[in-house]
């Protein structure tokens, strides 16, 4: 049975916390700490446990938004966190050295979830580095049997994040009446 939760994942500094903030009805719970390792190169503070946000549909029904910690040494949490999720929002940072390697890494890490839940991919910072293009990610995904949405997004733009999530919801059920 699915639980009312959506997982946001991706490398350090890609904008997971920002994306959850854009959607959450309440200020997200963050567990940031000063970075003390290689993460410091990319951002001063980073998420060491997880981000949590919530979309309240009414007083009782809530959709929970979880952001995975970016650092790989917290990978053990991902499987527990993602079990039963409605879908996976994968954010990729186009300015990283090898974002395609990141894509492969996250597809492997969430392979169990992706057997039953839809994937949507948001590529950030394409305004800073335009290559690889969206078509390159799509080609890679198609080769791995994923014909899924890959959108250029700015995690700071609420509308971009909502479009990404709406693509996920329509992927689950294109017949939704909205």
């Amino acid at each position: 049975m699915k639980e009312n939760k959506i997982i946001f994942t991706g490398p350090v500094g890609v904008g997971k916390t920002t994306a959850i903030t854009a959607l959450s009805d309440e200020p997200p719970v963050q567990t940031d700490a000063s970075a003390s390792d290689m993460t410091l190169v990319r951002k001063g503070y980073t998420t060491v446990a997880m981000d949590y946000g919530v979309i309240c549909l009414d007083e009782e029904i809530k959709v929970h938004l979880y952001g995975t910690p970016g650092q790989e040494r917290f990978n053990f949490m991902w499987e527990i966190l993602s079990k039963g999720s409605m879908g996976l929002v994968l954010l990729l940072d186009n300015t990283r050295t090898n974002p395609l390697k990141d894509l492969k890494f996250f597809l492997d890490a969430f392979q169990e979830l992706l057997k039953t839940a839809p994937l949507v991919v948001g590529v950030t910072k394409m305004d800073i580095r335009s290559l690889p293009g969206v078509d390159v990610y799509q080609k890679y995904l198609t080769q791995h049997n994923f014909n899924v949405p890959v959108f250029e997004i700015d995690a700071r733009r609420e509308d971009d994040v909502k479009q990404l999530v709406s693509a996920m919801l329509f992927s689950i059920d294109p017949g939704l009446e909205v």
Partner: protein
């Protein structure tokens, strides 16, 4: 390109024979809607309406609708009523449903959402028709290989930098090597040119010019997408027919392309299954102009795959001009069954929750 496009369009609507309550509902809906600017006008207004909505549930309203049809011959004079019309007319059903009102108004403004009086269509088992939910509509086609869209498409597939000229003046300069276009006219002019099926254009190779390339910010993809929508105007791209089977090869980058209503839903559906237009019309309660604009945009940009049986023929002009009928009355074959399955609720995920989440995302936070 996004920055050059007008963000908010104004549609002037005249309400006739409405009670105070209906009038207030429309005013409130128009105020809340911010994708298109709906402006109320009256018969005394200086501005002419783009559309007239007439409540025809009273005798007086019906008479007024007849009179207004004679007065406003070049804009939709829409019948707004609880009962289905008895003749072919632009139609908005009562009561207003907020989730479908604006797609319908947009379609009406584009000349769509015409109510067709159902014909007698006996089913195989001899059952009476009428309440079987059959939807029918007539569509027109356009030739995407003609005009500005055709010129851009052709230029984008070559290797040489090409200027597209109209009346001897450049409209676009296409740089296939960097997949960019330099627009030399305003977005408004580009829209006007795109909508002109008979526009005469000339393509001319131009020498390499780094300064022009530097200024070319618009991608060929986004330009083709937008111009296909402007050119289509709710028509089907020739040589497709209502029987052509199509599917989506991959998702377009929808966050960075001009919006097309229902593009997210159609992309999700068409990456899962292959259909023809009749089946799509049956299983998805969408407006035909929205479907056809989406197909035009995805076809022009290479996202849409179609079966090969409909090659272009030597009688293209005559074929394009002919109207075509689309009907949701399709055989219950495997393709129709697969399409129906693709739009059925997920066993694991209740549709109600997903709908509420979607409405929450795009309503007020």
């Amino acid at each position: 390109m996004e920055n050059m496009l007008p963000k908010v369009k104004t549609i002037r609507v005249m309400l006739q024979n409405m009670g105070d309550q209906q009038d207030a509902v429309f005013r409130m809906a128009f105020k809340m809607h911010n994708t298109t600017n709906y402006e109320m006008v009256t018969p005394e207004s200086v501005e002419q309406p783009d559309m007239v909505l007439v409540d025809t549930d009273s005798e007086e309203g019906m008479q007024n609708w007849q009179a207004l049809k004679q007065k406003y011959t070049d804009i939709p004079v829409v019948m707004f009523s609880t009962g289905e019309p008895k003749e072919r007319t632009p139609y908005l059903a009562k009561p207003i449903k907020f989730d479908t009102l604006f797609p319908i108004l947009r379609s009406l403004a584009q000349g769509g959402h015409i109510y067709e009086v159902p014909e007698y269509m006996p089913s195989e088992d001899g059952a009476e028709p009428g309440s079987n939910g059959v939807r029918k509509t007539t569509i027109r086609r356009f030739n995407p290989q003609r005009g500005l869209l055709g010129a851009l498409k052709a230029a984008s597939q070559g290797h040489q930098d090409v200027a597209v000229l109209h009346n001897g003046k450049p409209v676009l300069i296409v740089f296939p090597s960097i997949q960019r276009v330099l627009l030399t006219v305003s977005a408004g002019e580009l829209e006007k040119f795109s909508k002109d099926d008979k526009l005469q254009v000339v393509c001319k190779a131009v020498p390499d010019n780094p300064q022009w390339k530097e200024k070319a910010k618009v991608t060929i993809m986004s330009c083709l997408w937008q111009m296909a929508i402007w050119t289509a105007q709710g028509r089907l791209a020739y040589p497709m027919t209502p029987q052509t089977v199509f599917t989506l090869k991959r998702w377009p980058n929808l966050t960075r392309l001009a919006p097309v209503p229902e593009s997210m839903r159609l992309s999700a559906f068409l990456t899962k299954t292959s259909v023809n237009l009749n089946i799509l019309y049956k299983v998805m309660p969408l407006e035909m102009p929205d479907i056809l604009n989406y197909l035009a945009a995805t076809s022009a940009t290479g996202f849409l795959a179609t079966d090969d049986q409909f090659g272009s023929d030597g009688q293209a002009d005559a074929a394009v001009a002919a109207n075509m009928n689309v009907s949701s009355n399709v055989p219950d074959d495997q393709m129709a069954k697969d399409a129906q399955k693709a739009v059925s609720p997920s066993a694991e995920q209740p549709r109600g929750l997903l709908q509420r989440l979607m409405r929450k995302l795009f309503g007020t936070k």
